[in-house]
């Protein structure tokens, strides 16, 4: 990586220093709080998407009668456009660093559960459902509670952060075992 000192080299690096990235997310939150008067968050807007997707399945009457969907009705507002931005950012970043590639079964999963795509996709679907249900129950995800909540020293944010890590560690012990085998 001799090109690391040139700006274009930096932009093409597949990974940036995690402390630099963390500090940048911190500074991004200053801008978001100060400029648009919002916290950094994802899942509140995602609830509107769920409502919009649920409408053809459950029927418009069921969705519009639901107090929670009514509270979080889908609209192209700040939160929703922020999600569009995150997708755009992920895409641009992957293209510029030339790291865009289709991944169905990631390495760590394959090592433990084998190459079955059906198995992995089923687990991802279930995991996604749990993540969203949990985020709504806690009123925020890793961004809204874990980062935005914690950086404001919110009691809920820190509780979320600590319980999330405890739960994740126990879950990974159950799924992957404790073995620290000599790995690849």
């Amino acid at each position: 990586m001799t090109s690391a000192s040139q700006p274009s080299g930096f932009l093409r690096q597949a990974r940036w220093n995690p402390y630099l990235v963390g500090a940048s997310i911190g500074i991004l939150s200053w801008i978001v709080f100060g400029l648009v008067d919002k916290p950094l968050g994802i899942t509140t807007a995602l609830t509107g998407v769920a409502g919009a997707c649920a409408t053809p399945v459950l029927g418009a009457d069921t969705v519009s009668a639901n107090a929670y969907f009514k509270q979080h009705a889908f609209k192209w507002d700040y939160g929703m456009l922020f999600l569009v931005g995150v997708a755009l950012g992920g895409l641009i970043s992957a293209l510029v660093s030339r790291s865009f590639r289709a991944e169905v079964v990631p390495a760590v999963w394959r090592e433990r559960f084998g190459p079955s795509a059906a198995k992995r996709l089923a687990a991802a679907f279930l995991g996604g459902a749990l993540v969203m249900f949990g985020a709504r129950l806690a009123d925020g995800c890793t961004s809204g509670n874990g980062i935005s909540g914690s950086l404001q020293l919110a009691v809920g944010g820190w509780t979320f952060f600590l319980v999330l890590f405890a739960s994740g560690i126990v879950t990974s012990l159950v799924l992957f075992g404790a073995g620290r085998s000599a790995k690849n």
């Binding site: 999600l83 909540g149 952060f161």
Partner: protein
């Protein structure tokens, strides 16, 4: 705590443009930070890769000190969510199970799906199902779970009496200690989850 009486510097349609730009910056940071990667996230919980912890703790300390300064200067409002303790504890526990199974959280999943993760995209369909399930169970949850241990929009300085600045001094000390320890661990066993 100070409150802005005026509208934020950027509002209306300018805020909508800002949303896309700020979201894109967040998406780029998540992707280049390596956290739009299943292996990196799962290996955090297996203590084999500490990227997630490094990013989150740095973001909390840097972000928190800045937002505290902005708020003290009357330039930013706090946005505290109500601490419904039973809901937060149960929600975070379920979230942790889901995050290891999925390998993403909602934000990193969006960045990952946009950069080619097919299972990330399928999991986003799962989040739609999970959100719908929550909305349908909301009447019961809002009367049976959310009121339990509802402390309101409280901050650590409110419940402990310890000022925010002291919390941040302590957090900086904790963060530096944690970073020294995890760097030592990673030097001994470099994370294999970079790809």
């Amino acid at each position: 705590m100070n409150f802005l009486a005026v509208t934020p510097p950027v509002s209306g349609s300018a805020a909508l443009v800002a949303a896309v730009v700020l979201g894109a910056v967040f998406g780029v940071l998540l992707h280049r930070g390596g956290v739009a990667n299943y292996n990196v996230i799962v290996n955090q919980f297996r203590f084999r890769d500490f990227t997630v912890l490094k990013i989150m703790m740095t973001a909390i300390v840097v972000g928190g000190i800045g937002v505290l300064a902005l708020n003290s200067a009357g330039l930013a409002n706090y946005h505290i969510k109500p601490a419904n303790m039973l809901g937060v504890v149960l929600g975070a526990a379920v979230f942790g199970v889901g995050m290891v199974l999925y390998g993403y959280c909602p934000g990193t999943a969006i960045a990952a799906a946009a950069s080619g993760s097919v299972h990330g995209l399928v999991g986003l369909l799962g989040t739609v199902a999970g959100g719908t399930l929550y909305a349908l169970s909301f009447p019961w949850i809002s009367s049976h779970i959310l009121p339990v241990g509802a402390l309101g929009k409280v901050r650590l300085p409110d419940v402990t009496g310890v000022p925010a600045i002291v919390w941040f001094v302590a957090l900086i000390a904790i963060a530096i200690t944690v970073f020294i320890v995890v760097e030592k661990i990673e030097r001994r066993a470099p994370p294999s989850s970079s790809s």
